[in-house]
């Protein structure tokens, strides 16, 4: 039986279980003289039966779907006498067997391969049949068990609510699981990377050239993993971005909060917010095809030499992207500054700008700093703009007109395309990912802490 049909059948069984439980409860109640003689409403008896029927069977089915391929694979490969030692060789062999079983493989086939393919088809069909049989038996058996347990005294609502509550808790833990998943995935691969490349070389090395040599005498494929040029490149692009975003975003927020009339505010704010909703790939296209050539031509016209993948173009566009982020966060904290502080300053005769500069901004400073830190972490982790507009060459330079590369660009270039999971080249991407995760985590943590602490001050 195919899995979708099985799911449909299970769903039908669950509905039947609900209906039966419900009707049983109603008929029992009638003989007792009304629903109030039951310990719960009839629908809860229905739900109780349905949960017993569906939950274990669905869990079984889910586990089966996750593990069956791996088990079949192991059994099929074990049946072959002279299988290759390498994992990649085994993968190839297994793919051949699968194709043969599906009838896609044209050409000569060895009898051994054919028998393995037959074995594979046999196991497949057995697994499908067994899965259907077991889950259906489990569902109907447990539904019958639940129906037997139904009685007017059964506290069905409490039992159902307990299950629901556990489901809610499980969903809330998804966030923790995600963090753990991120940590485990980047940590393990990074540890494998650091077995072949020392941590100190990675953190302090000045030369980045991840191409590994295929032959010993190959030119230019030394495989150097010094990540300092990437870090400086990332810092430079982010610094340019912040140089644009912080003053513009902050001044825009101040103007909107302190000066603008209601109409201007209701008009200008949504327009600025549009910038936040534009996908980053669009900014990347804009940076690579419009801003970068413009900057190159401008630099050439004043006699400077600029790369067509300059850090300036990427940073500038990234800054534009971050403007609404800075402005909306600053707007929030500026609005949270109590009006009495402003009134006091104005009453002492200061002008509006003096009030803002000497009273409002200092009072809102922690919140603004928190917002800026969040923006920095955003800039460091931004990928598409730099992938499309910044270069690939790992230059160690301080000139914004030259091309630099960043951590995220390297992660993308190392992992897109064909890859094997045992070369340091691929694993290096995970080490870079770990650096990225840790640095943004620290920045976020400080920022959230600062913002939270500040909020408590005026509440």
């Amino acid at each position: 039986m195919q899995t979708p049909t099985l799911f449909a059948l299970l769903l039908l069984l669950i509905l039947v279980a609900y209906g039966t439980g419900f009707r049983r409860a109603v008929s029992t109640a009638r003989s007792l003289g009304g629903v109030r003689n039951l310990a719960a409403l009839p629908s809860y008896y229905g739900l109780y039966t349905a949960l017993w029927c569906g939950l274990p069977a669905l869990i079984l089915l889910g586990a089966w779907l996750v593990f069956d391929d791996a088990i079949i694979r192991a059994m099929v490969l074990n049946s072959i006498a002279d299988k290759p030692e390498m994992i990649s060789g085994q993968n190839l062999l297994y793919a051949q067997i699968q194709n043969l079983a599906a009838g896609h493989l044209i050409g000569e086939k060895s009898p051994e391969l054919q028998s393995a393919a037959d074995y594979f088809s046999l196991l497949r069909s057995r697994s499908n049949n067994l899965q259907a049989f077991l889950s259906l038996v489990l569902a109907s058996g447990l539904a019958a068990f639940a129906l037997l347990r139904l009685s007017p005294k059964l506290r069905a609502r409490e039992k159902v609510e307990k299950v629901l509550r556990i489901a809610l808790i499980a969903c809330a833990c998804a966030a923790i699981l995600t963090t753990v998943g991120i940590l485990l995935s980047v940590l393990f691969e990074s540890l494998r990377f650091f077995q072949s490349v020392p941590v100190t070389e990675f953190l302090f090395g000045l030369h980045w050239s991840p191409q590994m040599a295929l032959r010993a005498d190959q030119v230019g494929s030394s495989g150097a993993f010094g990540a300092v040029p990437l870090f400086t490149g990332t810092l430079m692009v982010s610094a340019i971005a912040m140089f644009v975003a912080v003053p513009v975003g902050l001044m825009a927020a101040i103007y909107l909060a302190e000066y603008a009339s209601k109409r201007v505010r209701s008009l200008a704010k949504p327009i600025l917010e549009i910038l936040a909703g534009v996908p980053t790939v669009v900014y990347g296209f804009f940076a690579a095809l419009t801003v970068a050539p413009f900057i190159r031509d401008l630099a050439t016209s004043v006699g400077l030499e600029a790369s067509s993948e300059s850090a300036l173009a990427a940073g500038l566009v990234m800054g534009i992207m971050i403007i609404p982020f800075v402005s909306s966060l600053s707007d929030d904290v500026i609005n949270a500054v109590p009006q009495s502080l402003r009134d006091g300053a104005l009453g002492l005769g200061s002008t509006k700008s003096e009030t803002v500069r000497k009273v409002v901004i200092p009072a809102a400073l922690p919140g603004i700093v928190g917002g800026v830190l969040l923006a920095v972490s955003r800039a460091i982790g931004e990928t598409m703009i730099v992938v499309m507009a910044a270069g690939l060459a790992a230059n160690l330079t301080a000139n914004p007109l030259e091309s630099v590369t960043t951590v995220t660009v390297q992660i993308v270039t190392l992992l897109v395309g064909d890859q094997e999971f045992d070369s340091p080249k691929t694993l290096a991407a995970f080490a870079l990912g770990l650096m990225l995760f840790i640095s943004t985590l620290v920045l976020n943590f400080i920022a959230l802490h600062v913002v939270k602490k500040y909020r408590e001050q005026y509440d």
């Binding site: 629901l164 809330a172 923790i176 975003g249 103007y255 909107l256 909703g277 534009v278 993308v412 943590f445």
Partner: protein, 428 residues
């Protein structure tokens, strides 16, 4: 200071007044300038994309007198098998030679053949399959032109010379001849909306990417909305205030700010390497985007739950409802509009996301339109990324057009979120 008379103080204040007012004006000007800069950025971005991309919605087509000659086609009846082998390219070449009889010599002829798109034989095949009576007869058909012709014709209106690129003087002459006789026109580019990706710009379309985006978003919505709402209900209505719930909260806030590419690394290491799910599939893309949008949905759902006044809960509890009944019968329906707005915004975020999908192999060159969540697929932003890398000028036009489609979908989503909030929001 104390020795100053009132008049002296006044004099000092008035002396500084002019410069203080000047500073005030400057400060104000800076504020206006910042806002103007932001608005200018929006305007430049949009006009740039629209001016580059609007051309892709029309396409150049050439009218040819086509003779479905059995001999040239090499078939004598119309059925599935013969259509597969029939030589439609030969038919097109024949009609091109008939149209320009003066062209002689191999290299000239070869150049002549490049006027028509290499996808045109398929158009003829479909026509013949639909109408088998045409075999052996002639008809006039509009066939799409090659992308070089397309680019050249479109650039003619900007300058007299036009953008030549690979187009030679001879070819330009043919094109002008066709233009004058009305056998060359620009028509609406339906190919762009019905085809998958292609190496030939004139045959490339966004259909496959759109369907890929749709399937990915469906998976994301189906997973992230229920899980996010359930998590929000637990945290807002049930969770005791202790270390564990604090940890969950800090976690959610941090995850909301983790760079999206890190989620891609997670997807690659766990879903693809560990669970061996298929590469390039919308299923895996949806899973990764679920994890990414979950914090957004949880945070907005919590805000929606918080906005429901406690009096509702107390009233329901006073009537003897259990806690679960209070939440599911009373609080949740009232908080639903807010949750839906949050979900739409989360989905808009997921739709525009590119980086994590690059990690899990959704950058493949996909020609076929995906039909399910496990088919290899790509999504609209990734398609934009792929096309942006292509050297052909015609691809730049199509990239901008794809961006316009993406942005319009996003604008529709965000506007509907705003409208939904306005319409259903209740002030207590």
């Amino acid at each position: 200071m104390t020795d100053l008379t009132q008049a002296q103080v006044r004099e000092r204040i008035e002396k500084g007044l002019a410069s203080r007012h000047r500073k005030e004006k400057l400060f104000r000007g800076l504020g206006i300038g910042s806002i103007a800069f932001g608005i200018l950025a929006v305007v430049i971005l949009f006009t740039d994309i629209i001016s580059k991309g609007s051309g892709a919605f029309v396409q150049t087509a050439i009218q040819l007198e086509v003779h479905y000659d059995q001999q040239v086609l090499g078939i004598d009846k119309v059925d599935d098998e013969s259509l597969t082998w029939a030589n439609f390219t030969g038919v097109i070449r024949q009609s091109l030679r008939d149209r320009f009889p003066s062209v002689a010599g191999r290299s000239d002829k070869r150049e002549l053949y490049t006027l028509i798109s290499s996808g045109a034989p398929f158009t003829l095949r479909d026509r013949l399959a639909e109408n088998p009576d045409l075999l052996g007869k002639s008809e006039r058909v509009w066939l799409s032109a090659d992308d070089d012709v397309d680019t050249f014709v479109k650039s003619l209106k900007d300058s007299k010379e036009g953008f030549r690129g690979r187009t030679s003087d001879q070819k330009a002459g043919w094109i002008e001849q066709l233009l004058e006789s009305g056998e060359l026109k620009k028509r609406f580019n339906t190919t762009f909306f019905t085809n998958g990706d292609s190496r030939e710009p004139e045959q490339a379309g966004i259909r496959a990417a759109l369907m890929g985006s749709l399937f990915t978003l469906l998976v994301t919505l189906a997973l992230s909305f229920p899980i996010g709402v359930a998590a929000a209900i637990y945290l807002e209505e049930y969770a005791p205030k202790n270390r564990w719930t604090d940890l969950i909260e800090v976690n959610i806030n941090n995850l909301a700010a983790v760079p999206s590419i890190v989620f891609g690394l997670l997807g690659l290491a766990i879903f693809i390497n560990f669970f061996e799910l298929p590469r390039s599939a919308p299923l895996v893309g949806g899973l990764v985007l679920t994890l990414m949008t979950l914090p957004t949905i949880i945070i907005s759902s919590r805000a929606a739950l918080k906005a429901v006044p406690p009096s509702i809960r107390q009233a329901a509890m006073g009537m003897g409802a259990s806690r679960m009944q209070v939440v599911f019968h009373h609080v949740l329906p009232l908080a639903m509009p807010g949750m839906l707005t949050g979900a739409i915004i989360g989905m808009a975020q997921a739709l525009g996301e590119t980086a994590p999908l690059l990690m899990i192999g959704m950058v493949a060159f996909i020609v076929d339109v995906p039909t399910g969540v496990t088919d290899p697929a790509t999504v609209l932003p990734v398609q934009i990324f792929l096309w942006a890398d292509s050297p052909e000028r015609a691809f730049m036009e199509r990239t901008s057009a794809a961006i316009m489609v993406l942005l319009s979908v996003l604008i529709v989503m965000n506007t509907s979120a705003v409208l939904l909030r306005k319409k259903l929001e209740r002030r207590w």
